[in-house]
C-alpha cells in the first residue's frame, strides 16, 4: 500500500480518544451531577455514576481490542478499516472534549459510545475474524 500518513493518523486519533476516556473516568463527577435534577438522593447519584463507569470501562476494553488489532499488524495496513477507525475516533475525541467542557448530560455518552467506540471495535472484530479464522490476507 505504501500509504504514509494514514497509520500515524489512526494512531493519533486512537490515542486522543483513549486519553479523553481515561480523563472522564477520573473526573466524571460534574457530568453525573448535570444529568440529575437539582435535588437528588445519594442512590440516584450512585446509579447514574455506575452507569457512566460501566460505559467508560467497556469503552476501555474495546480500545484494548482495537489496539491489539492495530499494533498486532492485523489491520494496520488495511485502508478501509484504518479510515473507519480514524473517522470514528476523531469524532469521538471531539465529542468527548465537548462532553467534558460543555458538561453534556451523561446519557448522551451512550450515543458517543455507540458510534465512536463500539462501531470501530465491531469492524475490528470482523477484520480479526477474517484474518485469523478465514485466513483472508491483505
Amino acid at each position: 500500500m505504501g500509504v504514509s500518513g494514514l497509520v500515524p493518523a489512526r494512531f493519533l486519533t486512537l490515542t486522543a480518544h483513549l486519553i479523553l476516556v481515561i480523563v472522564i473516568l477520573w473526573s466524571r463527577e460534574e457530568n453525573v451531577k448535570s444529568c440529575l435534577p437539582l435535588t437528588y438522593t445519594q442512590d440516584e447519584y450512585t446509579f447514574k455514576d455506575n452507569q457512566l463507569i460501566i460505559g467508560l470501562s467497556v469503552a476501555l476494553g474495546l480500545f484494548v481490542l482495537e489496539l491489539v488489532g492495530f499494533f498486532g499488524g492485523f489491520s494496520t495496513f488495511m485502508p478501509s478499516q484504518a479510515m473507519i477507525s480514524t473517522a470514528a475516533h476523531a469524532s469521538g475525541a471531539v465529542a468527548m472534549s465537548f462532553f467534558i467542557f460543555d458538561l453534556w448530560e451523561c446519557d448522551t455518552y451512550w450515543w458517543i459510545f455507540g458510534f465512536c467506540s463500539a462501531f470501530p471495535a465491531l469492524t475490528e472484530i470482523i477484520v480479526l475474524l477474517g484474518v485469523l479464522v478465514f485466513h483472508k490476507g491483505l
Binding site: G5, L6, P79, S80, M83, A87
Partner: protein
C-alpha cells in the same frame, strides 16, 4: 538571463467509481459531514436566528389637547379636564384653569420635538395645594418599519408636605415596550381612547381602572421627569402655575426582524463555518483518492500522445 514563473495552470485528474462502491459510500459520508455539522455548530453557539433587533426613530407625537388635572389640598381637591362628562360628574370640585400650550419643532425637520404647557389654576387664598396630578393624551406614531399609531398617555404627579404655588417639570416622553414591534404592516392595536369620553358613569374616569387598563397594554409611553421644581408658598391672589415641558426624543425601538434579514444573517454564519469544512474535507478527499485508499479509476489530466 534568469527565468521566473510567468503563468501556472491547474491540471485536473478525474476519479471514477461505480454507484455502489466503497468510494461512493465514502463520498456520501464526506458530503454529509461537510454540510451538516456547520449548521449544528452555528446553531449551538447561539445567535443563529436573529430574534430581536433595534432601530432608532424619532416618533411623530402630537398632543391631542386632551388633559385631566387634579390639585389636592389637605382635605379636598380641585379638578378639571377636557372631557365634558368628567367635568359634569365632578361639578362640585370643578375649577376652570387658564391653559396655554404649544408644540415646537426646534430643528426644523418636520417632526415635533417638544410640548410646552402652562396651566394656571385660580385658587382662593385659603386653598393650600399639596399635590398636583396631570394626565396628558398624545397621538404617537412610528413609521420607519411597521406603521404604529397609538393613543398614549403622559402622567405626572408631584406631592409635597409644603403647600406650593408653582410646579415646573421637564421630562421626556419615553416608549415602553413589553414585546417587540413588527417589521412591517399597520399596527393600530392601541389606537383606542384611554378615557371613554362618551360614558356617563363615574367609573369610566376612575383612575385606578384607567391606569390598570393602560398599563396592561404591551406598548405604552411614559413621561419621565427627573427635575421637578416645587415652589413653596403662593402670593395672595395668584393662581397655581403648572409648567410642563414634554420632549419627544429619538427612541430605540425593538422589533422582530423579517424573513430576509433572518436568512441573511443565518447564511453568513453558516457559510463562514462551511468554508472551513469544505477546505478540510477537500484535503481529506484528495489524500484518500490520491493514495487509492478506496479503489477508483483514475483518468489523468494529460492526453496520451499517439506516436
Amino acid at each position: 538571463m534568469a527565468v521566473f514563473q510567468i503563468f501556472s495552470q491547474a491540471e485536473q485528474r478525474r476519479y471514477y467509481a461505480h454507484v455502489c462502491s466503497k468510494a461512493s459510500i465514502f463520498m456520501i459520508f464526506v458530503i454529509a459531514l461537510t454540510f451538516i455539522p456547520p449548521f449544528f455548530i452555528a446553531y449551538r453557539s447561539y445567535g443563529f436566528w436573529l430574534r430581536v433587533d433595534n432601530y432608532e426613530e424619532q416618533p411623530q407625537v402630537q398632543f391631542k389637547h386632551q388633559l385631566l388635572v387634579t390639585m389636592e389640598t389637605s382635605d379636598s381637591y380641585i379638578t378639571w379636564s377636557t372631557f365634558q362628562n368628567y367635568n359634569q360628574l365632578q361639578q362640585a370640585n370643578l375649577r376652570i384653569p387658564v391653559l396655554q400650550s404649544r408644540e415646537a419643532d426646534n430643528n426644523g425637520d418636520g417632526v415635533r420635538d417638544e410640548l410646552q404647557l402652562k396651566l394656571e389654576m385660580p385658587l382662593l387664598d385659603t386653598e393650600h395645594i399639596q399635590a398636583v396630578q396631570l394626565i396628558l393624551i398624545f397621538d404617537y406614531m412610528l413609521s420607519k418599519f411597521s406603521t404604529m399609531q397609538m393613543e398614549s398617555m403622559g402622567y405626572l404627579r408631584h406631592e409635597s408636605i409644603f403647600p406650593g404655588g408653582q410646579l415646573k417639570v421637564i421630562g421626556d416622553l419615553l416608549l415602553v415596550q413589553r414585546q417587540p414591534l413588527a417589521h412591517r404592516g399597520l399596527d393600530t392595536r392601541f389606537n383606542t381612547s384611554i378615557f371613554d369620553r362618551n360614558s356617563l358613569f363615574l367609573d369610566a374616569f376612575d383612575l385606578s381602572k384607567v391606569f390598570t387598563e393602560y398599563s396592561s397594554r404591551n406598548v405604552t409611553t411614559l413621561f419621565q421627569y427627573n427635575y421637578p421644581i416645587w415652589s413653596k408658598g403662593r402670593a395672595a391672589g395668584s393662581p397655581f402655575t403648572l409648567q410642563a415641558t414634554v420632549r419627544y426624543p429619538l427612541t430605540t425601538v425593538q422589533y422582530t426582524p423579517g424573513l430576509w434579514q433572518l436568512f441573511k444573517w443565518a447564511w453568513i454564519q453558516y457559510f463562514a463555518i462551511l468554508v472551513v469544512f469544505i477546505f478540510v474535507f477537500n484535503r481529506i478527499k484528495a489524500f484518500v483518492y490520491q493514495n487509492q485508499l478506496v479503489t477508483t479509476i483514475v483518468i489523468p489530466a494529460f492526453k496520451e500522445h499517439k506516436l
